[in-house]
């Protein structure tokens, strides 16, 4: 195999891909050839580096130079300066990736990575996900080899149990127990499934793992197959993740070619195969029983449990179902031992958790932190704080099933149990940061609107109940709220949680309950004073011109699309409330900040 003196790693995750990393790769290859460097420098498309905010990202080794926001037109300069002459192109380096003496910082020295611990994401951004050899070079399939040649199935299960690994899909059920139940269940045929139906708004953790390190999931599923006695696996992934699906298919083909999937793996009598099943994007298919119905070819609807999948799953056979991130931890536990894994995290939540950081935050992206890290560390140290120096108001975790964490809990160490205690949940790992300009009633309404749309309609509490809740919230945000609405919301929430068929319905009221718990005053302001304190709910807004500040320039009147502003030049102008559509165009145009939102 040819040795290269330098590797150019270009992020091929979804974020960087959509901001143009494909073009960047193409120009790199072209420029390298032009400079006759193609035999010295290799360009590799990797998975997500995490710092999606400043993509497309390019890292050049051996220096480890971290270039951000690279456009195709920047590439010739990097090639001629850095790769040919060896001078870093400082203007293109990420601002936190350079030492004062203009040498490149290593990743671990950067604020964004300093507090992170990449376990599930260990290969993302390091290897070429479409090349099985690179995965093997970093220790891939060694765990499978060890399991098949040295360990009994029970030993594998004991190892996972001892590690304390809990399901990363949301509820946090101990993974080892699930494996044990499936292994002990009676059945002539068993299945191992992977839930890659990531549906929370703003979440892209599983997607990034599949895109950046598909083999780690395949290897873990094969190990699970051996442990529970299954010979067939299915990965249920949404069709709207095209890059993930493509890389998974490539990975499966490569693994089969090497005999790491298929008959008699490593010369043992264990055989295992994995198939991909595409989901059409219904949120409810992330629920385990609905997911399995969908794999079987039926409509994705949940059914009552028990029987649990470990007893009766896909095609009525005992089935092990874990999510992508859970699997991504497995090989590490097998190779390093459960004790090593237990060293990370809190007493009841071991290991790390990947979060998709989004919303009002400087470093939008993918982060992996040890359990027990505080929200403050995530938001202010890793996330780089809130844009515009605005105040932190709340963070939303757990998607439509979770809740909002207010500023007073910024210092709570994050793990499964502490989040439940403060009225939210871990969920699969979406983390949306909100600043003072967000209306919490509107946020609750947004999430409820999502669940109403995604409700499969099988059980009435979810189908009808969430709809009624949404109607009340719409009423409140449009200024028609009445006394008693909050109490009605609470009653409905309680009943839906208690009676809905599946997790989607049972947790649907959570966004409302948690915002009521911490931001009840905002609800009351909407209902009693007909005011939206954050200035978001349009129906409750009024744009007014402050007479003392208005110089009468008339710019506002010119920018108004509906001619709602009138006045004489050099005298204060006025907004006609009956015509105003509250678009805010005048406010952004006014040079004197004389227009206020009330």
């Amino acid at each position: 195999m040819q040795l290269y003196r330098s590797h150019v790693l270009v992020c091929g995750g979804t974020g960087c891909h959509s901001s143009g990393s494909d073009d960047v790769i193409e120009v790199f290859n072209r420029e390298l050839e032009k400079n006759n460097l193609q035999n010295e420098v290799k360009v590799i498309r990797t998975g997500c580096f995490g710092l999606c905010e400043v993509g497309p990202i390019v890292i050049v080794y051996p220096e480890g130079a971290f270039y951000s926001r690279i456009r195709a037109e920047d590439v010739p300069e990097i090639v001629s300066e850095h790769l040919l002459k060896g001078r870093l192109v400082t203007r293109l380096l990420y601002h936190d990736a350079v030492h004062e003496d203009e040498t490149a910082k290593s990743l671990n020295e950067m604020d964004f990575y300093k507090k992170q611990k990449r376990v599930a994401l260990r290969h993302c951004g390091v290897i070429d996900p479409e090349n099985i050899d690179e995965y093997i070079a970093f220790g891939g399939y060694k765990a499978l080899g060890k399991v098949l040649t040295e360990m009994k199935p029970e030993e594998v299960i004991d190892t996972i149990k001892a590690s304390g690994l809990r399901g990363r899909g949301g509820a946090g059920f101990p993974a080892g127990l699930k494996w044990e139940f499936t292994a002990k269940a009676e059945g002539d045929k068993k299945y191992v499934c992977c839930n890659a139906d990531e549906g929370d708004p703003g979440a892209f953790m599983d997607r990034s793992i599949l895109e950046g390190d598909p083999h780690s999931v395949l290897e873990a599923m094969t190990i699970a197959g051996y442990a529970v006695g299954a010979d067939q696996g299915y990965i249920y992934v949404r069709a709207e993740y095209p890059i993930a699906v493509k890389r998974l298919s490539i990975a499966i083909d490569q693994a089969k070619e090497y005999g790491l999937l298929g008959e008699n793996i490593f010369g043992t009598d264990f055989s295992f195969d994995i198939g991909i099943r595409l989901g059409a994007g219904a949120f409810v298919c992330g629920e385990e029983t609905a997911l399995m119905a969908s794999i079987e070819g039926y409509r994705g609807e949940p059914r009552p449990r028990p029987p649990f999948p470990a007893q009766k799953g896909v095609f009525g056979k005992p089935t092990l179902l874990n999510n992508v991130e859970t699997y991504a931890n497995i090989t590490k536990i097998i190779l390093d031992g459960p004790e090593k894994f237990r060293e990370i995290g809190t007493e009841k939540s071991k290991g790390t958790k990947v979060f998709a950081l989004g919303g009002n935050i400087n470093n939008t992206g993918l982060v992996e932190i040890p359990m027990g890290t505080t929200l403050r560390e995530i938001v202010y140290e890793i996330g780089g704080g809130i844009p515009g120096g605005k105040k932190f108001k709340a963070a939303q975790t757990g998607g439509p099933s979770g809740g909002c964490i207010p500023a007073e809990h910024l210092d709570t160490p994050i793990d499964y149990d502490s989040l439940i205690e403060i009225g939210s949940m871990m969920g699969s790992g979406g983390l949306i940061v909100m600043d003072e300009d967000n209306c919490m009633v509107d946020i609750a309404r947004f999430f409820l609107e999502f669940t109403v749309e995604e409700s499969c309609g099988k059980c009435p509490p979810c189908r009808i109940g969430t709809k009624r809740m949404l109607e009340i919230l719409n009423k409140i945000t449009s200024g028609k709220g009445e006394e008693g609405d909050i109490e009605k919301l609470e009653t409905l929430a309680k009943n839906i949680s208690a009676s809905a068929l599946c997790g989607l319905g049972q947790t649907a009221p959570n966004p409302v309950l948690s915002t009521l718990r911490y931001f009840r005053d905002e609800y009351e302001a909407h209902i009693r004073d007909k005011k939206c304190p954050a200035g978001v709910c349009q129906a409750l807004l009024k744009y007014v011109i402050v007479e003392e500040k208005c110089k009468g320039c008339g710019l506002c009147a010119k920018s108004c699309p509906v001619n709602a502003i009138n006045g004489e030049r050099k005298t204060p102008f006025k907004i006609d409330e009956n015509i105003c559509i509250k678009c805010g165009a005048c406010m952004s145009k006014c040079p004197f900040r004389a227009i206020e939102k009330k």
Partner: protein, 125 residues
């Protein structure tokens, strides 16, 4: 895949080529590759270093490049940084000097004094 040995073989083979991406604390070989360096023949020197390092399986050594070091008349120049030690600068390096520098200096810790900038300046005087 029929055996663990087979897997280990693939791992070893590929590791060499991807090892460059792991953080290394070892010796850094920096070749001056400004216009002056390239004109004086720095590229064959760089390639010779790469070749020698991989031939000897020196996984902890980084071969990299830098711009003009400033003494263009002494190019090709090579600086060797060993952690905890002072930097050593070799001047007028040619590919045939490389193997000696690698074996004596990088592997055995013996600086090849006659190629260093100090020796050269002595000689000039």
């Amino acid at each position: 895949m029929k055996s663990l040995e087979e897997l280990e073989e693939i791992r070893k083979k590929t590791l060499e080529s991807v090892n460059i991406r792991t953080e290394r604390q070892g010796t850094r070989v920096v070749v001056g590759m400004g216009t002056c360096g390239i004109a004086a023949g720095a590229r064959p020197v760089l390639l010779a270093f790469l070749d020698e390092v991989s031939k000897r399986n020196l996984n902890n050594v980084i071969v990299t490049q830098t711009g003009c070091i400033g003494v263009c008349r002494l190019e090709p120049m090579v600086e060797i940084y060993t952690p905890g030690e002072e930097k050593v600068t070799y001047v007028k390096v040619t590919p045939d000097k490389v193997s000696k520098i690698v074996s004596n200096h990088i592997v055995n810790g013996q600086i090849v004094s006659e190629y260093t900038i100090g020796a050269y300046e002595e000689e000039e005087r």
